[in-house]
């Protein structure tokens, strides 16, 4: 899982029922538009995210596209994030790992 995908999943899972538009997600995830929208496109093609057009309350405003995790998306996101945190905790327990230093030349 890439770091942008992880961030997007976390934001969606903060409130799975909430619908979010692109700029809202960009601000929350700290991702640029050129990264976020292709990601949303992929998630939508995989049916993990659904989108719908909604007209905001104010007059004269253009309809905006809102995104939401699908039921399958919620499951997949939870699973992926759980696997990721398990991997991270396993790495944390193992520690940074010992490096075998080559012996100094005069010790040989």
């Amino acid at each position: 899982m890439t770091a942008p995908l992880e961030r997007v999943f976390r934001i969606f899972l903060d409130d799975p029922a909430a619908r979010r538009y692109g700029y809202d997600l960009m601000k929350a995830a700290g991702l640029p538009s050129g990264t976020l929208y292709p990601l949303l496109g992929r998630l939508e093609a995989q049916r993990l995210v659904s989108s719908a057009w909604e007209t905001p309350g104010r007059d004269g405003e253009r309809p905006r596209r809102y995104y939401q995790l699908t039921g399958e998306g919620i499951e997949v996101a939870r699973l992926e994030l759980a696997q990721l945190s398990a991997r991270r905790s396993a790495q944390g327990q193992r520690g940074p790992g010992r490096r075998v230093r080559p012996a100094p030349a005069d010790a040989r």
């Binding site: 692109g22 640029p32 292709p38 496109g41 992929r42 309809p63 596209r65």
Partner: protein, 223 residues
């Protein structure tokens, strides 16, 4: 917000350029989506004062262009895949374009510094007539532009006025110098007075700019 319309137009232009690179099936939809986000970013008071919001909106639009230039198929659900030579060239091209824009901004800043430096240099030595007349004429044109309703800006007007006064002082000194009128010191003093008045005008321009920024912040906090 002042300057909203031209900034929005610039953003819309970038978004339309970006959407042209997308596959036809999703082009219209994405374009509509991004166009709808532009005014939202401009009116997002949490993002900071107006100039910051304009920069954010333009950055949003420019980054859609970057995204579609590098990998248009990913918007349709495809993965970016492995690096290819064509993709690397596109990356390089986009990087060079962004570097060019950065260079343009830096160049603009340096140009402004050089412009001020040249005025002070001309003032310290004997100003030439060509330089003085050009300074006055260019700033008269800029002043006229600053008086157009959509572009009206008191700070800009004061700044142009400062350069006009400065140019006029140097013009008088240059004409007197070439014609041999009066004592050169008298006209040197006149040109220095012109520069002093121009500094006062620049001060007014700065006050207007500061007021504008603080007013925008105040409106943002009062929401």
């Amino acid at each position: 917000m002042r300057g909203e319309r031209p900034a929005l137009r610039a953003g819309e232009l970038l978004v339309s350029l970006a959407s042209r690179r997308l596959p036809p099936g999703i082009r219209q939809e994405r374009c509509q989506e991004w166009l709808a986000e532009l005014p939202v970013i401009l009116r997002d008071r949490d993002a900071g004062p107006a100039p910051v919001r304009i920069i954010r909106m333009l950055a949003f639009a420019a980054d859609t262009l970057r995204g579609t230039a590098l990998a248009p198929q990913t918007y349709h659900g495809a993965h970016r895949g492995r690096s290819t030579t064509a993709k690397d060239i596109r990356w390089l091209g986009t990087g060079l374009l962004l570097l060019g824009l950065l260079g343009l901004l830096l160049g603009g800043g340096l140009f402004m510094l050089a412009y001020e430096g040249s005025i002070v240099h001309q003032l310290a030595t004997a100003p030439t007539l060509t330089f003085s007349v050009t300074l006055v004429l260019v700033n008269l044109v800029l002043f006229a532009v600053a008086c157009i309703p959509g572009w009206s800006s008191p700070g800009w007007r004061w700044w142009c006025m400062s350069r006009i006064v400065d140019g006029l002082g140097m013009c008088i000194r240059a004409i007197a110098g070439t014609s041999g009128w009066g004592h050169p010191l008298l006209f040197a003093i006149i040109s220095y007075c012109g520069y002093a008045i121009s500094l006062a005008c620049i001060g007014m321009a700065v006050i207007h700019a500061v007021r504008y920024i603080s007013r925008t912040r105040h409106v943002g906090q009062g929401r």
